[in-house]
């Protein structure tokens, strides 16, 4: 007799290890695909999977097999009108009559091997680049933290959660409802008794009966419990995903001629990381993009990353614009303000001191966190030294010089360490 086994409850991810091996082997290609994806995506859209394709050539498992040439004699089905000795033209591209299936398999082998990275795998590759500590990775990838909130009442729970008012209100209602029929009967009985007593007939027996009845009804009323387990109501609390407040993130970037594509790409990763952090902590995030050269302007994301200006650099113009935007749209009582500034360090010399002053007096007091990165290989310039002073006096200001993507994380170390003040 056959043995019947239900295997459906056994894990389904038997191939997980093999899949991971596969990803591991093609890490270089996958990394490249992820980089390309990051360039193409919006900052706010970073949190999903990605399609990756790898050239078939790289992925093939070679075997010895025949190439085209020599003599092949193959049998095929479905002869229509050939007779023996017919000579026919060779089909183009090594089709059915040619060197057999193998030749055509090679011909179509040019396509890429494409597959989907899951969100998790995508993020892992992305984080790998940024050299994030593991704890932070889990924090960013993990499920939202939960906050317990009131959600009405339930019929059971722990005694500490008993809602007294609700329970007693319920008990009262129950007592009223349960007593009602008895009370009606009692009233009727009492009225009848009064009527009997007032009548002159000899009704002693009836009176006694009525009295007994009244007595019984009173007993019944008295036996209605004051409170019953049925009446108990408990405060109900449920867990809701935590972030319920809102934040605005300012992206400030120098777009003067010296910021090339590579530097902008680095800056983008920097902005993405801040965005992801905020996303974990706030319900609603608005992003404001301010780009500047000698003057600053607020733009959309596409223009922010993709248009190029030339000319000098006045950083304070961006800071001034940011202040104006805050005053106009983001009152500090409603919004948590974060800012990330990327630049290659160039600035109008006399402007740097000005920048530090604006930053310290007019922006930092309202910001939760302000991060500055300088993407450059050269010597630090005036702005860097001015900002160093600011950093000494303000704990929520971070700055870092960046050569590779792995340098970005330290800027946020402080940020990831502590919880935002709003919580």
């Amino acid at each position: 007799m056959a043995h019947l086994i239900d295997r459906r409850l056994n894990g389904k991810n038997k191939s997980a290890v093999n899949r991971e091996r596969f990803l591991r082997r093609f890490k270089a290609q996958i990394k490249e695909a992820v980089s390309r994806a990051i360039k193409g995506r919006s900052i706010t859209d970073i949190d999903s999977g990605e399609k990756v394709s790898i050239p078939v050539k790289d992925i093939s498992e070679p075997q010895f097999h025949h190439g085209q040439g020599g003599v092949w004699e193959n049998v095929h089905p479905g002869n229509e009108d050939y007779v023996r000795g017919d000579r026919i033209d060779r089909p183009q591209g090594g089709g059915a009559g040619g060197g057999g299936g193998k030749a055509s398999k090679d011909g179509s082998g040019e396509d890429d091997f494409a597959f989907e990275l899951s969100r998790e795998e995508f993020m892992n590759v992305f984080f790998d680049d940024l050299a994030l500590p593991n704890l932070i990775k889990t924090q960013l990838m993990g499920i939202d933290e939960l906050k317990s909130v009131r959600a009405g009442y339930t019929n059971d729970g722990t005694p500490t959660n008993i809602s007294i008012v609700r329970s007693l209100r319920g008990a009262l209602a129950r007592r009223v409802a349960m007593a009602a029929p008895t009370l009606t009967q009692l009233n009727e009985a009492e009225e009848e008794l009064d009527a009997l007593i007032e009548s002159d007939d000899d009704v002693a027996l009836d009176v006694r009966q009525r009295r007994e009845k009244i007595h019984k009804l009173r007993e019944r009323l008295a036996s209605i419990p004051f409170i019953d387990p049925f009446d108990l109501r408990y405060n109900n609390r449920i867990k809701l995903p935590m972030p319920t407040s809102q934040a605005v993130m300012f992206c400030l970037m120098d777009v003067s001629g010296s910021m090339d594509e590579a530097k902008k790409d680095m800056a983008k990763r920097f902005f993405i990381l801040l965005y992801m952090f905020l996303q974990r902590n706030y319900d609603k995030i608005e992003v404001v993009f301010i780009r500047h050269h000698t003057s600053a302007v607020e733009v959309d994301e596409h223009d922010f990353f993709h248009s190029r200006e030339s000319g000098g650099t006045v950083v304070s113009s961006a800071l001034n614009l940011m202040r104006e935007v805050i005053q106009k749209r983001y009152s500090t009582s409603d919004w948590n303000i974060y800012a990330a500034q990327a630049s290659d360090g160039d600035n109008w010399d006399s402007d740097s001191a000005n920048c530090a002053r604006i930053l310290e007096e007019q922006l930092l007091p309202y910001c939760q966190y302000y991060a500055y990165i300088e993407i450059t290989d050269g010597e630090p310039q005036n702005l860097w030294y001015e900002y160093l002073n600011v950093k000494e006096r303000n704990r929520h200001f971070a700055m870092q010089k960046i050569h590779a993507a792995a340098d970005i994380y330290p800027v946020f170390r402080e940020l990831f360490k502590r919880q935002p003040a709003s919580r």
């Binding site: 389904k12 020599g70 003599v71 095929h76």
Partner: protein, 505 residues
């Protein structure tokens, strides 16, 4: 009799009842000899898992299985491909997977096809009997998985992975075609593994130590020829003789070789095996219907998928991909039965010994004693050649046109049959490559020889890639010579050994 079920939903009780009925027909009525059956219900995801580890319930880890999984998953999710209805494992008990998505009728079809059709083929066909040991394969894979996992821990995933890559490249050359293989056994494997390790290494060292010192430059005089005779089993040769492999590496080569050997019969009996299973699911389902145990609706559902399975597109169709083994195999078994039950004069002339015979005995004999190549050359009848309208085309690269060499007529039957049989001969389908010699006195380079058949050359880029793998295993330079039929070397491939630091050790 009443139908076993009327709806399309399956339940465990129903599967059990169908199995009982099918068994009664297959075993009691038609006398199929089967291993005990183990039916396992699995989900679509689990089916994909099973797919990508070549159908085995356990297997060692390797990226290539991940690759198969990824591509299977992709095409399944996009709906480009349905999953196979069944996977069946040549083991004792015989494990057949039933996918939970299938309807009751499909489950019955799979039970008949896999659990009784394939099962009886596994148990009785001479190739499977010779090359595989159904009761030991699962145990052996458990051993292999554990062993390879331990190697990964000790020597690193990369070292093991690249070794497996190289072995996989030679998987089709890991079989002795003429020698009888040894049986597998978990207990013996484990007990002997360590002993073998020491012994082998000793032997290899010995081999190289006892090479006579070269006193003169004259290499030919009194040279030892190694190996004394050409060897067809490249993996075996590497396992036993590669100078630089560590004992654990030899063991892994051996594991890949053993797995290759286990799958070897399946590659040689596609038409026979699938045809057999298809013949039996068809026969059994019809029998169930005759007995009134399945409804008209179920029968229609069954026939619909059955006709899909045995559809043979003609060569002119866009989706023609060669001959469908299900179609050919099924048609051949049906035809043999017809020749036994209702032979024509032509059949009597072609098959005097089976025409009018007992079809069950004839079929049983055919299933037991043949492989695709010999099965076709023995049993392909003119009737079938006509109904498939088979014809052969010669493609000679020295000729600017293709030539039709035979069609389904009196003159062509023999030739079509012979050509088709040839087409299923693994020996001519795959390049014939053997170990030719090792330069034991000089640079230790290994020479392989490809004996050309019908002037068919090797595909160059893949040959070069495979040769790199051979060089990695061998540890020294490797050369491959293509030799034409007159014994003249006409093409040479070479692969340099990697510098020591990139070696797999």
């Amino acid at each position: 009799m009443t139908p076993i079920s009327t709806g399309s939903e399956w339940t465990f009780d129903l599967i059990d009842e169908y199995d009982r009925e099918i068994r009664a027909i297959a075993v009691d009525e038609f006398g199929l000899d089967v291993y005990p059956v183990q039916l396992e219900i699995i989900t679509a995801e689990q089916m994909m898992d099973a797919y990508s580890s070549v159908g085995m319930p356990v297997n060692y880890h390797h990226w290539s299985f991940g690759k198969h999984f990824v591509s299977t998953e992709k095409s399944y999710k996009r709906g480009q491909m349905g999953l196979a209805y069944e996977i069946v494992i040549n083991s004792n008990p015989c494990i057949a997977y039933l996918m939970e998505e299938n309807s009751m009728t499909m489950q019955a079809l799979v039970i008949a096809h896999a659990a009784y059709g394939h099962n009886s083929f596994f148990k009785s066909n001479y190739l499977f009997k010779t090359w595989t040991d159904a009761s030991a394969i699962i145990d052996y894979l458990v051993f292999a998985k554990g062993y390879i996992a331990r190697c990964e821990e000790r020597y690193g995933i990369d070292a093991v992975e690249s070794l497996l890559d190289s072995c996989h490249a030679l998987m089709n050359y890991g079989v002795d075609r003429y020698k009888r293989p040894q049986k597998l056994s978990l207990a013996k494997e484990q007990a002997r593994q360590e002993e073998r390790e020491h012994y082998l290494q000793m032997q290899v060292n010995d081999l190289w130590r006892t090479i006579p010192r070269r006193d003169r430059d004259d290499a030919d005089k009194g040279s030892v020829r190694f190996p004394p005779e050409p060897q067809e089993n490249l993996l075996y040769f590497i396992e036993k003789s590669a100078p630089l492999l560590e004992p654990w590496q030899r063991e892994i080569v051996r594991i890949v070789r053993k797995v290759a050997q286990y799958f070897y019969p399946q590659r040689q009996t596609q038409v026979m095996n699938e045809g057999w299973a298809t013949f039996w699911h068809y026969t059994i389902m019809n029998r169930l219907f005759d007995k009134g145990r399945v409804t008209d609706g179920a029968m229609l559902e069954f026939l619909q998928s059955h006709t899909n399975v045995i559809y043979q597109p003609p060569v002119t169709a866009k989706w023609y991909h060669g001959i469908n083994p299900y179609a050919l195999g099924f048609a051949m078994y049906q035809d043999i039965r017809r020749i036994c039950e209702a032979p024509t004069d032509e059949d009597r002339a072609w098959f005097p010994d089976i025409a009018g015979g007992n079809w069950r005995e004839v079929l049983d004999f055919a299933m037991r004693n043949f492989k695709d190549e010999s099965f076709i050359s023995q049993y392909l009848s003119p009737t079938l050649i006509r109904s498939f309208r088979l014809f052969s085309i010669r493609d000679n690269d020295l000729d600017d046109k293709l030539e039709i060499t035979s069609i389904h007529d009196e003159d062509g039957y023999q030739q079509v049959r012979q050509k088709l049989s040839e087409q299923y001969n693994l020996g001519s389908r795959e390049p014939n490559i053997q170990v030719w010699s090792v330069n034991v006195r000089g640079d230790r380079s290994l020479t392989l020889r490809h004996s050309m058949y019908q002037r068919r050359p090797l595909e160059e880029s893949s040959t070069e890639e495979v040769l790199k793998h051979v060089a990695r295993l061998w540890g020294f330079d490797v050369r491959l010579e293509s030799m034409d039929e007159s014994g003249h070397v006409c093409q040479t491939f070479e692969a340099k050994a990697l510098p020591q630091e990139y070696q797999i050790a």
